[in-house]
């Protein structure tokens, strides 16, 4: 008998080395898969948050291939969240690389599949109105970390560069309109000198305004309405129903207190 065989069999027979039971491997696999699902969901949440924050600049309503849009997208991109999302995608790729269905394929293919899935699901989550609901929830319950996440200051493009803002028209005058931006700050928008019709401005309307920021005044070049998507409408209805339920519950609780 050779040395290696003798030594190893000696270890095995004397139980110096013992087999790890199968349930432990099953448990580790389950934990690994759950961990990967959790990281994927976290990535989807971050991606959807990025899309949601960028959508508030009206980017989704602008022409698809447009230089203004591209530059604006770069300006308003939440860099920290973007870096987090990229890192998490990298972690998913590294963790999944030990499974045959991943390592049998080129890295670029699996990375593309994971990234596109995360972006697609993130887009659906963003459009479902979940973030709108969470933002309202954070405001109502004054949850500071969530508020910091959602109520970010509006970013404008570089001076004298065309930029786009999105918000609600709150007042109109002969020369300008005041728009409430998503960070609850208002900005004055000067009508264009070219005499373009501004009749589309209606108080309460959700608008996209293209223009240039000059000394705290946004000089408008053109504008368009931001149409509500069906997802947003559904989200608004859901939010409204939630508020109604909360009101009813509050009324019942108050009634009970008074009865007592």
């Amino acid at each position: 008998m050779n040395t290696i065989k003798t030594t190893v069999l000696d270890y095995v027979k004397k139980d110096t080395v013992m087999m790890i039971p199968r349930w432990k491997f099953v448990l580790y696999s389950c934990l690994g898969v759950l961990g990967m699902i959790f990281i994927f969901l976290l990535t989807v949440f971050i991606v959807s948050l990025i899309i949601f924050l960028m959508t508030r600049y009206g980017l989704t309503y602008m022409p698809f291939m447009d230089m203004v849009k591209a530059l604006r997208a770069v300006t308003v991109l939440p860099i920290v969240l973007f870096v987090c999302a990229v890192l998490l995608l990298f972690v998913i790729e590294v963790l999944s690389r030990k499974y045959a269905f991943t390592f049998r394929r080129p890295l670029i293919v699996t990375l593309f599949i994971v990234t596109s899935t995360a972006v697609l699901v993130g887009f659906v989550v963003s459009e479902s109105g979940a973030h709108e609901y969470m933002k309202t929830f954070a405001r109502e319950h004054r949850i500071a970390p969530m508020l910091r996440m959602y109520d970010r200051p509006v970013r404008f493009g570089p001076p004298n560069q065309i930029s786009v803002i999105r918000g609600e028209v709150i007042s109109l005058s002969a020369t300008s309109a005041t728009i409430l931006l998503f960070d609850e700050k208002s900005i004055a928008v000067a009508y264009p000198r070219s005499g373009q019709s501004t009749s589309s401005f209606v108080v309460g309307g959700d608008v996209l305004v293209f223009g240039v920021l000059e000394n705290n005044l946004f000089v408008m070049k053109s504008m368009r309405h931001a149409p509500e998507s069906s997802f947003h409408k559904r989200a608004s209805v859901n939010a409204m129903m939630h508020h109604e339920r909360m009101d009813k519950r509050y009324a019942t609780t108050t009634k009970n207190i008074f009865v007592k």
């Binding site: 290696i4 190893v8 069999l9 087999m19 199968r22």
Partner: protein, 190 residues
């Protein structure tokens, strides 16, 4: 060397060992000891510690035996453990940089062959290869050893190294080119 169940495949022996026939693990050792010793020796290029590394491979194989899926190849599974142990050993002992991350696995190689032209090598070339293997990087050395010496198929090598099958072909081609260049350089220097 006594074969207790020569007719049984490796994959069939594993459930019997798990059930308690510890003696049968000795048969698996008999079947793989020489192969793994040759592989580790050529891959690490450190003949002194080969038996230690192979011993660790068998101990780890026994400890993790219940994680083995009997529907898959035991050969690839044990070679994977040997690969991991060899890489760990090289990282500890060797001064040369061991890097297995490269751009080969990034992009698809649609035109890479799924099997090389021929596996037969002459005795002279074999001797030449033995002496030149140490001069190429471990990444390329390993695919040559697995393909030409251990007789593994592209699919099995892909399973062992956790890389796409087409990448195995690309690596073997590059390894041969590197080896050829090394041999020519040596010839001119001599």
């Amino acid at each position: 060397m006594t074969m207790l169940t020569p007719e049984k495949k490796d994959e069939e022996l594993v459930p019997l060992i798990i059930e308690g026939n510890k003696e049968l693990f000795g048969e698996l050792i008999d079947r793989y000891e020489q192969k793994l010793t040759r592989y580790v020796k050529r891959f690490t290029q450190h003949p002194d510690d080969v038996s230690d590394v192979v011993q660790i491979v068998f101990v780890k194989a026994y400890v993790h035996l219940q994680s083995f899926d009997c529907n898959r190849s035991f050969n690839s599974w044990i070679y994977r453990i040997a690969h991991n142990e060899s890489v760990t050993y090289l990282k500890k002992k060797s001064n040369e940089k061991v890097s297995f991350i490269d751009f080969d696995i990034f992009l698809p190689h649609p035109f890479a062959p799924e099997e090389s032209d021929t596996k037969t090598i002459s005795r002279e070339l074999n001797e030449l290869l033995e002496t030149s293997l140490s001069k190429i990087s471990p990444k390329y050395r390993e695919v040559l050893v697995l393909y030409y010496y251990d007789d593994l198929s592209y699919q099995e090598i892909a399973e062992v190294l956790h890389i796409p099958t087409a990448t195995v072909g690309v690596r073997i081609r590059r390894a041969k080119a590197t080896l050829e260049k090394t041999l020519i350089d040596n010839h001119y220097q001599a």
